[in-house]
Amino acid sequence: MAEMKYKTEKLKCWDEVKNIRMDYYKNYTEAHDKGGLRWAGGAWTLDAVPAGLGEDVYPITSEPYGASIAFDKQLSLECLEAAEKAGWARDLCAYMRNYWGSIILDKFAFNYKEGEFGPRFRGGDAIGFPKPDFLWQDHICCSHAKWYQIVSELEKGIPMFCVDVGVGPYTEITDNRVKYVVDQLKDGIEWMEKVTKRDYDDELLIKAVYNHCRATSKWAEVCALNKNIPAPLDEKSMYSLYVLGTLHKASQRVADFYEKILLPEVKDRVKRGIAAVGNEQCRVMSDTQPPWAFLKVFRYLEQYGCVSIGSLYTFGLIGMWEEKEDGSWGPKTMPQDQGIELTNRDEALDYYVRWELNKPEWQHFYSPQLKSEMMIRIAKEWKLNGIMLHYNRGCEGLSLGIAENRLALLKAGFPVMTFEGNMGDEREFDEAGTTTRMDAFMETLGVKR
């Protein structure tokens, strides 16, 4: 074990993180009891838009839910097999297959134990998948719209609306491209009014857009603090933190958490020199979703004093970034700080769409080079010794172009290790093989245990 050099401390906000996540699934589950609404859609989705239907409207986002299942190995295996039995190919998106399996079997990954809501694997009384009232999806990869097309079929016709955001990279954004997305959102609002029989409140939309911008900017600010040596956060913890953004980034609670609880605590850790990994002597980053059932591989690296400081995935799926005056990467300035006031639906949607299309973990859909440039920037600014790329068989969208990223990183002078796996299908992960690779990679970097 490499020598301890820094103090470490558990995050104080840990309980709040757990509470937010559990309350999120609980609120979704119990929405109907209080006359509220439930909707389901992707984590990428423009979730500020359904917020205009009222304050008692609760989402369940599909990818984090699929990951929750993946984390529950027993349930995941049942779900994957159920999806396969229903005829779906094994190489399709693993979150999607977990999610479909959960519907086909009508088994929810959460339940009550002695009246308390929590994950199913701790026991208790099983409950079925609480049906959403409508589906609000975005189409980012080949599977996204089709995911819910099939959910709608499995659930016998739950109404679905899906927004196509495929308008090219942000570097080539035009008014025509923004307008296409905005126009679909407008159609979507009218559609939601029809299927929910509720009036839409633009004030709530505007509030949610502000929250969305705040949550994503503040998360980026948290990630930027990891430029410090020692890193105050390691990627394994970041997964538990960033996930809140994938659940409900347009909500007041998540935005408040990032701004008022997490950010001050991480700043304080930096000030006091608190490390995530006390024996930090080597810094790497990863890429794409991790194999959720095997997060222990990150612990394995810690024996080498190796800390994964994050990834473009954790930084850039939830965080929004911009180049600062000194040329470094930092949090994108929020509309509230730019003196921009959103006063009506049109303005709110236009601003919102431009904000979202600028998402870092989106640009690679158009060119691996755009992603490589951001990764090289992280490697330099976050002072990395190497990069581990997870060739993720579970996600066609985020593994897109990953081989080209590898070549570009090598060319820029950074050592790269690749390992194959699957974020949501543990049958495709070779743990022993992966730790062997990690050993060899550490040897290459000259890092000793």
Partner: protein, 259 residues
């Protein structure tokens, strides 16, 4: 100074004993289910060949898939690191190392000192070049050691898609039904494996000189297919299956302070 390297592989366990940098003995034992005793047995055999006792060996380094089973070793090194060290000793000019074993294929880029710069290990679908040739030999009803010579007789190009071993096996069955001569099928099998290995090597880039090590390097048919595919000359040690163990033994002397 006397050191030993133990390479506990998926199929065989190999031991090399070094005395002041020279190989004094080597041995091989089937790994089987009990890797621990296989390693012990191979080590004892190597010792007795060299007329040495356990106490004469100052440092033992284990490597290979079962390296953690070698409980008498002082420490371990990864197969990638051992390959680079071993090859560097035999061929200092080599920059690209290809190791094809029973269950795993590796490509390693190394500098002039035996340090690893980049490496690639075959992914699941392309696993088991060694075992694959064995099962193909069975399907063709020839001895695995005859497969190489057999395929050298063929001049025909039959394209086979060996991305997946199961798929490839069914392709062989098709060829059998089509009454394809055995030598052509043997060549098709070697071409297919060589193509997968080449793919992997291209990932790290081919820089001269290139060495081929690992048990499958003894198969002449495969070597020819790989040469043709890569379009480069291959440096081949006399005992390709011992290079990894040799590397481990070198690491052992370095760690014992006698490098």
């Amino acid at each position: 100074m006397i050191t030993a390297g133990v390479d506990c592989g998926a199929k065989n366990t190999k031991v090399v004993i070094l005395k002041d940098g020279n190989i004094v003995s080597k041995s091989t034992v089937l790994s089987g289910f009990d890797q621990k005793s296989a390693a012990q047995e191979a080590f004892s055999e190597a010792l007795s060949q060299a007329n040495l006792g356990k106490e004469d060996v100052v440092h033992i380094t284990a490597t290979g898939a079962g390296k953690k089973e070698v409980d008498f070793a002082n420490n371990t090194v990864t197969e990638v690191g051992a390959d680079a060290k071993g090859t560097n000793k035999l061929f200092p000019s080599v920059r690209t190392i290809i190791d094809v074993g029973a269950e795993e294929g590796r490509a390693i880029k190394s500098d002039g000192s035996g340090k690893v710069i980049d490496f690639a290990i075959n992914e699941k679908c392309a696993a088991g070049a060694g075992s694959f040739t064995e099962s193909m030999a069975r399907a063709l009803e020839v001895k695995v050691e005859d497969l190489g010579d057999l395929s050298l007789k063929s001049t025909k190009e039959i394209q086979m898609n060996a991305q997946c071993a199961v798929f490839a096996e069914s392709e062989v069955v098709t060829l059998v039904h089509a009454k394809t001569p055995k030598e052509d099928m043997a060549k098709a099998v070697h071409d297919a494996i060589a193509s997968r290995i080449t793919s992997m090597v291209r990932k790290i880039g081919v820089e001269n000189d290139v060495a081929l090590i690992g048990g499958v390097a003894k198969n002449k048919g495969f070597v020819k297919s790989l040469k043709d595919d890569l379009g480069v000359e291959l440096k081949m040690p006399e005992d390709p299956e011992y290079v990894t163990a040799l590397g481990a033994a070198i690491v052992a002397s370095e760690r014992a302070g006698g490098a």
